[in-house]
């Protein structure tokens, strides 16, 4: 996987803070359970939902770094024009997938706000609050897919030849 960028960007800050918060909550839980025999187990719910947000942002950075796992055996031997097509096609599909996830997530949030008003099991937080991170942080996924595609296309163009 590519090395970290030199500059720490906003998405880097957010994802770092999310992971650190997750680890801290989980650690405090372990300590309190074993040392003080007191459990904040309900906060587990916050941790696992921050995990969802972290995964969304992390996936965006992974796209940007070209770090998503895939099979490049065939891609490597394709002629250049095909490579360009595959890059656009592949990035387009990834974007479509997240558009669909976001679309149905926003629909679910809308239903929560207008119809169901469901609250979470442990802390009684309205579930839409947990949901809303997915479409919001997806912005970073689209940015990552775009950056990945444009850097690959740029490299293909500058190589020259067929």
């Amino acid at each position: 996987m590519a090395q970290s960028d030199r500059r720490i960007r906003m998405d880097h800050w957010i994802v770092a803070i999310l992971l650190f918060t997750m680890a801290s909550i989980a650690f405090v839980n372990v300590l309190s359970r074993y040392l003080f025999h007191f459990s904040f187990a309900a906060t587990e719910e916050v941790t696992i939902n921050l995990f969802v947000w972290m995964t969304v942002i992390g996936s965006g950075i992974a796209f940007e770094r070209g770090g998503q796992l895939g099979m490049i055996t065939l891609y490597r031997v394709l002629p250049k024009r095909w490579k360009k097509f595959v890059v656009i096609f592949s990035s387009g599909l990834s974007a479509v997938l997240f558009v669909l996830v976001d679309f149905y997530m926003i629909q679910a949030i809308h239903e929560e706000l207008t119809l169901f008003h469901a609250t979470s099991a442990a802390l009684g937080i309205p579930v839409w609050i947990y949901y809303v991170g997915v479409p919001i942080f997806s912005v970073f996924v689209f940015a990552g897919i775009y950056r990945d595609a444009s850097s690959k296309l740029g490299a293909l163009t500058s190589e020259g030849g067929l």
Binding site: I8, I17, L19, T55, R65, M71, Y104, M105, I106
Partner: protein
């Protein structure tokens, strides 16, 4: 007919180089849409596929590994092994394998181990006269051990899919991991002997070795805490992982003082990204498997496996062959999601213990991490030496043969996998 189209679309996308997670996701969405399984739940299913406490162990173990690597612990451990076995024939090759084994007890991911150990030992090995492709193949292959020796991301995934206790799986992996490690050391030694790779000039004195042991104590304590906590049942794997994170932070910040705030942010970002690459596959593989199981493909496939296998042994051999073949083109996580749901009813039909089978399954998949064209450890190693994948893969063949022999041994003797979990009380047969 539709089913053929769904699987074909997945395979074509994969072959074109579309990310595995995207390929699974698109195929899953097509299935859900086509069979009207409730596409409206896609967003919520995406979130609930990630929001699981056992899976939380993945980012935490990844983070602990990143911090310990940054603190320089891999080098400390490598130095200790160098003093002990460095002088023997193939000394550095064996040091590499042993360091990979040790790192496997800190990290649950093959490529992470390849990178951590490769950065330290590839250059010295090449300087010592080793063929650089053999050096890379040794480390790529020994890094397979990371997913057999606990902690292991692959076991966390297996446990999530099959509902087998991840703690029991971790403990089950200890003896098979040591056997595979011993086999890898042996191959490294034999190849080195044949190729004339000599050891280092001198052996460490007892005093030097003891000093190196003292320096390594912080590294050695990490697996003791992680595995000890899990073995005694004090921690769940996720708890052990988060304890490992803060232990690593303590070692890096207080003991080694090698980590700045800027490093800290970078490590958190890198760990998030690595874990997201895994979770991206987990979540869409989960959706794909769910959709295909609802339309009955899984049951049909399971019936098929049962019908072509006259007995349990044949089934295990056939599936092992399939896993080795799939391991060449897919990563361990996607294979687990594609194959295990089919095998759960098969295991029940043949009365095969799912814990024991987990060790067989993951050992078979571990081999795939170092086989081309999609071998995550091979990729990482090839990047490190700026070398070519195929030349490394050729050198890896002899290791793969040894791995297959160990796989057969593990398949013949279930006690190797089941002894410790039963002894620890984490598992009842």
């Amino acid at each position: 007919m539709e089913i053929v189209v769904i699987f074909l679309s997945f395979l074509v996308l994969m072959a074109l180089g579309v990310p595995i997670g995207t390929s699974l996701g698109i195929a899953g969405v097509i299935t859900i849409y086509w069979f009207d399984l409730g596409i409206g739940m896609l967003g919520v299913n995406f979130a609930s596929g990630i929001a699981s406490f056992p899976l939380l162990a993945i980012p935490f173990f990844v983070l602990a590994g990143v911090i310990l690597e940054k603190a320089g612990l891999a080098a400390t451990i490598a130095h200790f092994f160098e003093l002990v076995v460095g002088k023997a024939v193939g000394g550095l090759a064996m040091v590499s394998v042993m360091t990979c084994m040790f790192w496997g007890a800190l990290s649950g991911s093959g490529p992470a181990t390849t990178a951590a150990v490769g950065l330290i030992l590839l250059a010295p090995m090449i300087k010592q006269g080793y063929d650089k492709h053999f050096a890379a193949a040794t480390i790529a292959n020994a890094s397979d051990l990371s997913i057999i020796i606990p902690p292991s991301i692959a076991f966390i995934i297996y446990g999530t899919i099959t509902n087998v206790s991840v703690s029991a799986l971790f403990v089950a992996g200890i003896i098979p991991g040591l056997i595979t490690g011993a086999g890898t050391v042996l191959v490294a030694y034999l190849v080195s002997k044949k190729s004339g790779y000599r050891g280092l000039e001198r052996r460490g004195s007892l005093k030097e070795i003891l000093i190196a042991l003292k320096d390594s104590i912080w590294a050695i304590l990490a697996p003791v805490i992680i595995l000890g906590g899990i073995y005694t049942g004090v921690f769940t794997p996720t708890e052990a992982a988060v304890v490992a994170v803060f232990y690593s932070l303590f070692v890096a910040v207080v003991i080694y003082r090698s980590v700045t705030w800027r490093d800290m942010i970078r490590m958190l970002v890198d760990a998030s990204v690595t874990s997201s690459v895994i979770m991206f596959i987990v979540v869409f593989a989960g959706i794909f498997t769910w959709a295909t199981s609802v339309i009955g493909v899984i049951d049909k496939a399971a019936d098929f496996v049962i019908s072509v296998s006259p007995n349990a042994a044949t089934m295990i051999i056939l599936v092992n062959l399939l896993l080795l073949a799939l391991g060449m083109i897919l990563d361990a996580i996607s294979i687990s999601y594609l194959i295990m749901p089919i095998l759960i009813p098969v295991l029940a039909a043949f009365k095969i213990d799912p814990l024991w089978y987990g060790v067989i399954f993951i050992s078979a998949l571990a081999i795939g991490q170092a086989t081309p064209p999609v071998g995550v450890n091979l990729f990482t190693a090839a990047n490190l030496i700026k070398g070519d994948l195929d030349s490394i893969a050729k050198q890896a063949i002899v290791f793969v043969i040894m791995d297959v022999i160990v796989l057969i041994i593990l398949s013949l003797f279930p006690i190797l996998s089941l002894y410790l979990p039963v002894l620890s009380g984490l598992y009842k047969l």
